[in-house]
Symmetry: C2
Subunit: 500 residues, 2 copies
Amino acid sequence: MNSTAIKDCTQQEIDQAIADSKNAFEIYRTKTLSDRAALLQTIASNIEKESEILIQTAASETHLSAARLKTELIRTIFQLKSYAAHCVSGQWLDVRINTADPNRNPPKPDIRKMLIPLGPVAVFGASNFPFAYSTAGGDTASAFAAGCSVVVKAHPAHVETSRLMATIIEKSITDCGLPAGLFKHIEGASNAVGECIVKHPSIAAVGFTGSLSGGRQLFNWGNERKIPIPVFAEMGSINPVFVLTEKMQQDGQSVAKSLAGSITLSMGQFCTNPGIILVENNPALNDFLEHLKNAFDDFAPTQMLHEGIAHSYREKQKLALQQEQVSVLTTVNSEDNTLQVNPSLVITDAVSFMQNEILKQEVFGPFSIIVVCNNKDQMSEVAQTMEGQLTATLIGTANELSASRDLINTIQQFAGRIIFNGVPTGVEVCLAMQHGGPYPASTDSRFTAVGGDAIRRFARPVCFQNCADELLPPELQNSNPLDIWRTVNDIPGKDKIINR
Amino acid sequence: MNSTAIKDCTQQEIDQAIADSKNAFEIYRTKTLSDRAALLQTIASNIEKESEILIQTAASETHLSAARLKTELIRTIFQLKSYAAHCVSGQWLDVRINTADPNRNPPKPDIRKMLIPLGPVAVFGASNFPFAYSTAGGDTASAFAAGCSVVVKAHPAHVETSRLMATIIEKSITDCGLPAGLFKHIEGASNAVGECIVKHPSIAAVGFTGSLSGGRQLFNWGNERKIPIPVFAEMGSINPVFVLTEKMQQDGQSVAKSLAGSITLSMGQFCTNPGIILVENNPALNDFLEHLKNAFDDFAPTQMLHEGIAHSYREKQKLALQQEQVSVLTTVNSEDNTLQVNPSLVITDAVSFMQNEILKQEVFGPFSIIVVCNNKDQMSEVAQTMEGQLTATLIGTANELSASRDLINTIQQFAGRIIFNGVPTGVEVCLAMQHGGPYPASTDSRFTAVGGDAIRRFARPVCFQNCADELLPPELQNSNPLDIWRTVNDIPGKDKIINR
C-alpha cells in the first residue's frame, strides 16, 4: 500500500492551506456562474489531455483495469461538463421572487431569494473511484459549481493519481485567472489529518464517499464543532434485489446473467453493488440458481483495490459463512495473492436473514446473499426490516409489478433509488438522479451526490427584502440578465419583471 | 408559571404516542396532495371558529395583548392556508424527470424524482408565538403539507392554549377522515421528555423554535442517535441594523421612530428583534440618539411572557451594563412586578463591542445596543466579526447603498435575510422568504422555517428508474394528472410527456 509512504501534513500546513482556501473563496464567490462553468470546462479539457498518464498511474495504484479506468475518466469529464451546464442554467439556485404590493395593509415587501455558496468544502474521495469520486470527482465539481473553494484530502490508496489530478486542477485555476488557493491538496495517512480538516473553523461543509465507520466519524466531528457543518457522507449499502417468480420462470437465465455481471463488475467494488437477492421459493428457483452459478463461474477474478479492502472482504466473507443457515452456492477460487479474493454467492432463508444483523452488513466486493422467502408476503416482511439503502431493485413481469404496489411502497421507505428490471450498478449522471438514501446509506438523505442537484449541498438561501434592483445579484434583477429559470410570484418562468 | 402544574408524560405514554404517530404516518403518506391541503384548510377553519377562546386563553397564559394575539392568530390561519396552497401546487416536490434514450450506448434509462415525506416529525414550539410558531404553527403545518405525522411537545409556558389547539387539530383530523394518530400532544416540563421524543427511533425529524441552548441540545440528541435525524432549530439572533450617515441626517427622526417601535414591539420578544444598531460617529448622531430616546420613552412596558424570560432578561441586561465602555442611553422604568422589566437602550464603541463576546449575545426582550463606529470602514470591520444571524438591516439613502456593495457582500456571509430601509420584525409568509441563517441563528442554514420552502425540511428525494407509468406516483406520470410544475429533461413546465 502507498499509505505507508505518505507523510501527514502538519497542523501548520493544514492551517495555511485552509486559510488560502478561505481567501480564495472570498474572491471566487463573487464570480459569475459563467466563470465557474469555465473553470469546470477547463478542468475537463485539461484532464482529457492527460488521460494517458492518469490512467496508467491509477491502474498501477488501484489494480483496476485500464479499460474500466478509461470509462471512469470519461465519466469524470462528462460530470465536470454536466455540472458546468447545470451551473449556468441557474435552476439549482432556487430563485424565488415575490414582488411588492404597496396597497396591502401592511404593505407587502419585495422579497427575492437565491442560493449562495457555503464556503471552503473539504472533500474525502473514494478508493473505488480514483477519478469520478475522488480528487476531481463529483464532490469537487459540484462544490466549484456552487461557488465554493475545495480542500481535498488525498486518498492514501491512490495518492499519485490524486497528486497528478491536483496539478491538473491547479493548472486549470491558473488558466482561468482564478486565485491559486481555490484548490488545496492535503496528504495524510492518519485520521488526525481528517479530524484537523473537518474541525477547522473555516471549513463550511464536507463531502465524503467511503465506509460507514469513516463517514460516521466525519459526521460526528462536523456536528461536535462549536459551529456545526453539514457532512455529506455517501456510505455503504447492500442494495437489495427482489426477483419475482413469474419473471424468474420466463427469463431466469438472462436475469441471472445480468445480476451476476452486476455483482462481479470491477470485483464488486461499487457502492451500488447488489448484495442481497430476494427470491420466492418456487419450482423455477433451482434452475435460476443454476443459471446464477454458471454465470458466476464464468467470471475471472482480478485484484482488489488494495490490501485493506481485500483483507476486510475476506474477514466479512468468512464471518457471513460462519452464520447459521448460511451455505455457499458457489465460489470462484482465485490465485493465492494478498490482493486476490474468492468471489462468492451464498444462500440463506428469510427468517435466518431477518434475525441476523451480521448478514445485513455490507461485504464490499464480489459477494451476494440469496435470501429465499416462503412467499411474497415474507419478501415484504424482509423489506420492512431493511436499513437505509442507496438503491433497491424490483425484477418482475408487468403483471407482477402491477400486483406489487405495497412492496414498492415499502421499498420507498428505505431506498433512494428504485430500479425496475435492471441492475443497481451504473449511476446515470442526470438531474433526476438520486444517489443517496436513508442512513446508513448516507448521512443526509435529503441530498444527492450525483446529478445537478448535488450542487445544492454546498449552498444556502439568502433573501433580499426591498433591495434596489441595481444592488441585487444579477440572478435576482428585474431584467433577468442571465436568462435563468426563476419562480416569480409562485410561477416558474424566465420573464423579465416589469411594473415593479 | 404553568410549568409547575404540568406532569411529565411517562416513557410508556411517549412510546405509545409515537407508535400511533408512526402508524398514522404509514396511512397519511399515501394520501394525495389535495388530501393534505384539505386537512390544513380544515384546521384553519376550525381555528377560526374558536378564535375567541384561543385568544382569551393565550392572553392569560402569555400576557401578550389580545390585539397582538389576534394578529398572530390571523397569521397562523393564513400560514395554514398558504401551506395548503403550496402543497397542492407541488412545486416543493422538486419533480425532475429525465426521459430514456434507448439509442444511446449504453441505453439511457428513464429516471423520475420527487420528494417523499420523512416520517413522524417532533415539534417544539416557541413561547413567544403561542399560535404561529407553536402547536398549530409553521412547523406543524409544513410537516403535514410534506405528508408527515406530527408529535407536538406542548410548551410549558402556554400549555392550556396548546391543549385547546391540540383538540382543534384532532377534531380536524376526524373531520377529514384521517387516522387519529396523525397528531399527538405530549406534555412535560422536564428535559427528559424532550430527550425521549428526539431519541425515539420512529421520530424522523425535529422542528424547534427557541433558545440557542435548547436548540443545540435537541440538535446534539438528534445527531447522537444510531440513525441521526435532521433537527431544524431556529434559535437566537441579534439582528444587526446598519444606519448610514446621510440617511441619518436626512430622516433621522423617522428612522429612530421605526427602530424604537421594532425594538419594543411585543416587549421585544421576537427572534428578529433588532439587538444592535451600528452607526457612524457623525454630526447628526446626537440628534438621532435623542430621537431614539424620545421614541423609546413614549413606550409603555407590558408584562413579559413568563417569569423565566423576565428573569433571564434582567440577568443579561445587568451583565451587559457591567461591561466596560457600555453606558445607558435610556431606560424606561416599569412597575415592580416579577413579569415586568425595564426596556433599555445602551451605547458602546465599536472596539469595545468587537472585543467583548458578552455584548454579542442575545438579550431577549426590549433591549438594543447602539455601537458607534469611527467610520464606515470600522462598520464593515464589525460586520466581518458577526456570528450567524436571521437578519441584517441596512438603512441608507440610494447613494449610500450604491456605495455599500462591499458591506452588502459581507452581510450576506452571516445573514439569512437582508432588509433595506425597513425593520427586521415582520416576517412575510411567502415562497421567497428565508427565515433561518448561519449557526447560531439556526442549526441548518440550508432551510427556512417560514414560507412554502419550509415544507422541504421534512421530505427527501426518491427516484424511480424505468418504472411503468401506471406504477409511478401521479406526480411523476406522463400525463401530469395533478397539473404540477415539473422539470422534464432539464426544462420546467407542465406539459404531458409523450413518445415515451
